[in-house]
Symmetry: C3
Subunit: 133 residues, 3 copies
């Protein structure tokens, strides 16, 4: 077992010496708090639903690069700036997850990285175990 | 090793396609952010202390269903809406944990799922290792 | 594999029955949300940068006591009270980490334990795997 950095060509890494988007240690994969950004790291904006869809797409790409998929996610932590609209995150999540859903925590924070960022989501996944039931 | 969904008859699962309360992957158990709710998922209300007691009771039931107990919890993340009353969470925790306590993070967030919800707590536990010392 | 409490003589433990600073379960180490405090647990104050430096120093001491180092950290969760100054945390982090950086989540919360506390950071590390690449 070693610790490997997982990079996807479809998910821009931050500038050097800030953080890694994804690390794999044994079967466990840690995904950084992802926000809705394009390949130049510019926020893509949009509703909480639209941003959550972009976040889950970026998460899926990172997990694919790690050799897994969203089926392997066991824990999501969701930070939103307006919890009254959390059903938008729920809708986006219901469109991309299946079977027994990941465990999840969802809280409203006072601010995320930039004013137009409405949602940030990090994840822990366990690969090569057949995914969630 | 497989990923199993852990369900307790004493802890209401959310409606389908939202999240799982608890997943076990190998020896590691992930518990969703729990709030003080009854078997119909209605918030039970009460002080931060009372809500924390309900949360820890639900957590204990899920861990029991997974084959473990609160003795196996290694990490707690506590979100409160009024950090000046955090000693209420501490009191509740001191009544249900023993030995070397779990690691913990406690922060105040701007809002939780519903106005009457004062505390949300998620956990990671490691089972079948004899528990914390 | 057992669960061990990790104590460093250079990092004050909280009073009994609150939380443990650090637990090791197998190769995985869980570090509590750390703030900038001295050996009497008094907040050391200072800028977000200065506080983050103290937090990472405490984290390094705990990981050393566990048999590892900051090279083994795979996940950081950073809570700040003023996200507009987050580059101060970034600067502190860039001074103490190397290679592929840990995954990270950084959010602004409405309050931390005491008014002068500007940053709290918890971590998960995976030891004895050669560290991050």
């Amino acid at each position: 077992m070693t610790i490997r950095q997982i990079i996807s060509p479809r998910v821009a890494e931050p500038p050097p010496r800030l953080w890694s988007n994804c690390l794999r240690a044994g079967d466990t994969v840690y995904v950084s708090g992802l926000t809705a950004r394009d390949l130049e790291l510019a926020p893509t904006g949009g509703s909480q639903y639209e941003q959550a869809r972009v976040v889950f797409e970026r998460m899926a790409q990172l997990l694919a690069a790690a050799g897994g998929s969203l089926r392997d996610v066991v824990k999501l932590t969701v930070y939103v700036t307006d919890i009254t609209r959390r059903d938008e995150v729920w809708q986006a999540r219901a469109e991309v997850f299946d079977g027994a859903f990941p465990t999840a925590t969802l809280v409203e924070v006072s601010a995320l990285a930039e004013p137009e960022i409405a949602v940030e989501i990090d994840a822990i996944a366990v690969l090569d175990q057949g995914g969630r039931p």
